[in-house]
Symmetry: C2
DNA sequence: AAGCCATTTCTGTTTCTACAGAAATGCAGG
DNA sequence: CCTGCATTTCTGTAGAAACAGAAATGGCTT
């Protein structure tokens, strides 16, 4: 797949962004490439377009799959794997948020809970430290609980809510 | 400042988390330490507690300051700098989101705009690629516009909205 | 059943970031 | 103006991650 200069710029920038957010650069580039493509791509196509090693493509695609961002598809008469990604930014965001919640937030909640438990009984931890951790725990809990509810709403409803912006505040007397 | 085992665990975990989200480990550890402390800490205290080099503390604290997460304060009769962080998780989240928006999202929007402009005129970029970038741009635009509005709402209103969860959907006919 | 081709796993190299320690700067008090 | 201490900047190093290429695996086709 040939990239125009702007497409290349998009791919490169996406790579940088991924980097800053804890996703490695190649993975983000592959994702960007698939996002730009109007059809599923094969590993060898991505290899030549992005000039990455095949092994790198293979592993990255696997990671993207596990994130739920990329799907492995097939075409008749070709046994090679083809890959495609979500085309709706909104779906992408939800998928990423979901995956990272599972991988990072949920374990964090577990750790904080354990900390709170131990802090309450160890007799060394100063009260204010316990209080801080509790506060953080309940904050994250509230936030993720909210997220879990919100993400189940139909997209159209969410769009309406977003367009309301700060005017949603009316409904709670803000 | 002495850390109980659970406090240490909290600090270490916070460091790991920072890492995964593109903040370096020491910076996140320092932040965690300040968060647990009930008083502003000096660089040398953090040095011994976290066993990091003074230079590292100095640079990290500076970075946290630029993120708006840490404030440099002074006490009478001591010319050394002392540091403290926000104690409200909600304020922390907003501050972080704000800073990262400025540093990463806004530049991204600029890049996407430039890409869209060039793609429209270069005569090489396939239409679907242009369309994808446009869609992403408008999505990010919508989202950040929403965020800018929301963050101005009083915290109490936000808490009410969060507690509503998916029931906010009622208001837009969901 | 054998060979071929796509894919994955493994391993060594390279690159980059984080960090410590040294040197330099700056400031306040004497 | 000089001295001493805190802080910052600079530089080399250590460690980790990313990556390429080689080797191995697995499955389809003939």
């Amino acid at each position: 797949m040939e990239l125009s200069p702007s497409m290349e710029r998009f791919v490169l920038h996406w790579g940088e962004m991924g980097d800053r957010w804890g996703v490695n650069r190649s993975i983000a580039q592959i994702h960007a490439l698939l996002y730009l493509s109007d059809r599923p791509l094969r590993a060898d196509e991505m290899e030549t377009t992005l000039r990455l090693a095949r092994s790198n493509i293979s592993n990255s695609v696997r990671e993207l799959e596990s994130l739920g961002l990329v799907e492995r598809v097939h075409v008749l008469g070709d046994r090679r794997d083809h890959f495609k990604t979500l085309s709706e930014p909104w779906d992408m965001l939800m998928t990423i948020a979901d995956a990272r919640k599972k991988r990072e937030i949920d374990p964090t909640i577990a750790v904080l809970r354990a900390c709170v438990n131990e802090m309450q009984t160890d007799g060394i931890t100063p009260p204010h430290a316990l209080e801080r951790v509790q506060r953080m725990l309940s904050f994250i809990d509230t936030l993720t609980g909210w997220f879990d509810q919100i993400k189940r709403l139909p997209k159209s409803t969410l769009v309406k809510l977003m367009n309301l912006g700060s005017r949603v505040a009316r409904f709670v007397g803000g």
